[in-house]
């Protein structure tokens, strides 16, 4: 293969950096599993190469140092305490009460107050692939944050649209592990988003196994099987998204995981897991020099971004407002049915004539 082809290969995937935003929205000890979920994904993502500087980890409660934790400073994700996902090198960016809907949306859209430290910012650009993982308690169309507020699927979709319009991502993978998780990705309308959820609307996501030593459920099923799947992945894996879609079939998960790829430009077959979960830098060592010509075929083969750059101009289509805002049908005024009015007045006239006699009829007619 000549180096030009290899150079073409180099630009194939379209992203140059990876970010991850991992959010656990539940507090309280019995929601241990949500923190364990998030930390498992954090562990995999770090293992596959994304550095802490590119991970925004939001944990709504501290399980490792929770007074009810019989094994302090640990968060286990396997029964029998096989795997401690909380080590010395866990860097939590938003902790405890800082995990709010507002902060989450500010992280995503970049509208952060000036004094915020870098570790709390999502400094992505238009060549970033972002993995967003959320877990907690949810319902049809919303996700609960901190037991006191909710983020709706419409808000999330609008946040992603803001990110798109500000060129804050190249491609986005959204994974959610909550009850009725599929409702959260129903409203997305921005391009290049792929979404996975642990359960369909109307289904609950179930937890995996309780640990009798710790006393709570350690993980949710979907994330447990995703973690098992991810443990097989190493930075050079060629496993693609279709395999991720097969993770946790209904027999293992009880709920039906769902995914959405209609907004994604590439075929999921061609999307590597490491495109989102790892930070894989393509390095090719060559002794030859290649002059990178702007008219290189790879560039001219229209990376998806340019094609879609035309889309923001078509605002009218991009925002299906009527669909999103559930426009009410035009209000028709209620009128009493004609039969009723007729009947009522007929009765009144009958009563009138009965009491005052028919002789008045001739005065009226």
């Amino acid at each position: 293969m000549n180096f030009k082809d290899q150079a073409e290969q180099f630009f194939k995937s379209g992203h140059t950096n990876n970010w991850a935003v991992l959010v656990c929205t539940s507090r309280f000890w019995f929601n241990y599993r949500h923190v364990a979920n998030t930390l498992s994904v954090y562990r995999s993502v770090k293992r596959l190469g994304i550095p802490d500087s590119h991970i925004v980890l939001m944990l709504a409660d501290d399980m490792a140092c929770n007074p009810r934790n019989p094994k302090p400073a640990t968060v286990f994700s396997h029964k029998n305490m096989e795997l401690n996902v909380y080590g010395d090198d866990v860097e939590v960016d938003y902790r405890s009460y800082e995990v709010t809907v507002e902060n989450f949306l500010r992280v995503l859209t970049g509208r952060i107050p000036p004094g915020t430290p870098r570790s709390k910012r999502l400094l992505s650009d238009d060549r970033s692939n972002i993995l967003i993982y959320m877990t907690g308690h949810g319902g049809n169309g919303f996700l609960k944050f901190q037991d006191s507020e909710e983020i709706t699927n419409v808000e999330l979709a609008d946040a992603f649209e803001q990110m798109w319009q500000k060129r804050r991502y190249n491609e986005l993978l959204f994974i959610i592990d909550t009850c009725q998780g599929a409702s959260m990705y129903e409203r997305f309308y921005s391009p290049n988003i792929m979404a996975l959820a642990s359960s369909q609307v109307g289904e609950d996501s179930l937890s995996h196994q309780p640990d009798l030593g710790i006393g709570v459920h350690l993980m949710d099923r979907y994330t447990f099987y995703v973690l098992e799947f991810l443990e097989e992945i190493h930075p050079a894996s060629q496993t693609n998204m279709n395999d991720l879609f097969q993770v946790c079939p209904k027999s293992l998960c009880v709920s039906t995981p769902g995914h959405r790829t209609d907004l994604f430009q590439r075929d999921p077959q061609n999307v590597l897991i490491t495109d989102f979960f790892g930070s894989v830098r393509k390095v090719e060592i060559t002794a030859e020099t290649i002059s990178l010509d702007p008219n290189l075929a790879a560039f001219e083969s229209k990376p998806p971004k340019d094609e879609l750059a035309a889309e923001p101009l078509k605002y009218a289509e991009q925002l299906p407002v009527a669909q999103i805002i559930h426009q009410k049908p035009k209000q028709k005024d209620w009128h009493p049915p004609g039969g009723f009015i007729l009947g009522l007045w007929a009765l009144i006239i009958m009563v009138f004539f009965k009491t005052y006699g028919i002789k008045h009829m001739k005065h009226i007619f």
């Binding site: 209000q331 028709k332 005024d333 209620w334 009128h335 009493p336 049915p337 039969g339 009723f340 009015i341 009947g343 009522l344 009765l347 009563v351 009965k354 009491t355």
Partner: protein, 435 residues
């Protein structure tokens, strides 16, 4: 007599108009004593708004008015204030005409009894003269229109005023002697709030008296007339209910209106007796006590009918009072209706024993209602017991008022037939007691 009545009406309408335009209107509409879940104006507006949005107003527990009210206000909602003022005026006119006729009847009956020598010789001072009875209808209209309770009810736009109008027309129709109209209005009143059902008995008694049919259980004409009147009443009620079905094409209004009145699910404090009991009651017993309380309203009809069969209009007055005290969601508008009748029995004044205390109780309690409400709800330094105490006292005052009038009425009747100066067997002065 038309001119003073017109003057009274004008004054009343002015007072109401002034209050509508002042800031008190909003304050009064919020008061729980004036607006109950059954007849609050806010709920009527809410129900009509729901209807405009395409939802049945009876879904949910907010709207408890009958479909005829929906129909009435659908077209008249912009003129709501005018409607309420007109209904008040109509009530006053109806009461005026009714009492005028009633006075004639009373006077005729009195003349008859005097000529038949039914009265004892020394009761001259108890006989009523046309002179003193001349101003009674005007006083009735005055009492109704300028009663602060009525004014508040009208300003709050509570549909209690409409209920009062229907009952007033029913009384007018009964006293004029038209069985058909009286049945129709009674059916309307029952249709709107269930309790006027008990007014069937006094109306029947009055009509029988008018037709000179004696009330004997064995008499065939009595049963015939009763059946006729009952049939008229029931048929009109059925017709009105079926007609209401066609408004919204559903029977939803029956549990919402009648189910609500009978089962008392809403325990917002009001001037009645139900809310406090049921707020504290265990679920287990609530059905039993609801039945007991509701039976209490209907229970007095038969004994009163037995005792007061010669005096059906007084019976009607007592019955209306009992309804307004013991109904599930009373408001001051209901009280205003029976208080309007008090001038008719003004000749009983000399026999009333506790009238001073009772009027003080009633006035003080009415003034204390907003005070204790404020202390309970806003200041937080009182609790529901305080408000309930005032409610209890107010109701006790009303009950004593009614029983006082009852006693006075019966005492006067007794004196009329037995003479004014009663002596016991040993010659000392005797005292009549109500057993």
């Amino acid at each position: 007599m038309a001119a003073p009545l017109v003057l009274v009406i004008l004054v009343a309408v002015t007072v109401r108009a002034v209050l509508y335009r002042s800031s008190l209107a909003a304050f009064i509409s919020e008061r729980v004593e004036v607006a109950s879940p059954l007849n609050a104006w806010k709920r009527v507006v809410e129900g009509l708004a729901l209807l405009d949005l395409g939802v049945s107003p009876y879904s949910g527990a907010i709207f408890h008015e009958t479909p005829l009210i929906i129909y009435l206000f659908h077209f008249l909602i912009e003129y709501a204030e005018l409607v309420f003022m007109i209904t008040d005026v109509l009530t006053a006119i109806a009461l005026y005409l009714a009492i005028q006729d009633f006075n004639k009847v009373v006077f005729k009956k009195q003349k008859l009894l005097i000529e038949l020598d039914k009265y004892a010789p020394d009761v001259a001072e108890l006989i009523r003269t046309p002179m003193e009875m001349h101003y009674i209808p005007l006083k009735v209209a005055l009492f109704y229109l300028l009663n602060p309770y009525t004014v508040m009810s009208c300003v709050a736009k509570s549909t209690c005023t409409i209920n009062n109008t229907v009952i007033a027309f029913f009384i007018l129709a009964t006293i004029k002697g038209s069985a058909f109209l009286s049945a129709v209005f009674l059916a309307l009143a029952t249709y709107q709030s269930l309790y006027p059902l008990t007014l069937f008995a006094p109306a029947l008694l009055y009509l029988l008296q008018r037709q000179f049919i004696p009330v004997k259980l064995k008499s065939k004409s009595f049963w015939l007339y009763t059946m006729q009147y009952a049939a008229l009443y029931l048929c009109s009620l059925v017709v009105i209910i079926c007609l209401s079905f066609f408004l919204l094409n559903s029977w939803d209004f029956i549990p919402s209106v009648y189910g609500f009145i009978l089962s008392v699910p809403d325990l917002t404090p009001n001037i009645g007796l139900f809310w406090y009991f049921f707020a504290e009651m265990f679920e287990h017993f609530s059905l039993f006590f609801v039945c007991v309380f509701q039976i209490n309203v209907f229970f007095y009809t038969i004994p009163l009918a037995v005792k007061l069969k010669e005096h059906p209009v007084f019976f009607m007055f007592v019955q209306i009072a009992i309804i307004s005290i013991f109904k599930s969601y009373p408001t001051v508008g209901d009280i205003a209706l029976y208080m309007a009748f008090l001038p008719v029995w003004s000749h009983l004044y000399r026999f009333l024993r506790n009238i001073f205390i009772l009027s003080c109780v009633l006035i003080v309690c009415s003034l204390l209602f907003p005070v204790l409400w404020h202390l309970w709800i806003y200041a937080g330094s009182a609790n529901s017991n305080f408000y309930y105490a005032i409610t209890l006292t107010f109701n006790i005052g009303q009950i004593l008022l009614i029983s006082d009038y009852f006693y006075a009425f019966l005492r006067r009747e007794y004196y009329l037939t037995h003479g004014l100066y009663l002596t016991r067997q040993d010659g000392t002065e005797a005292m009549l007691v109500l057993k």
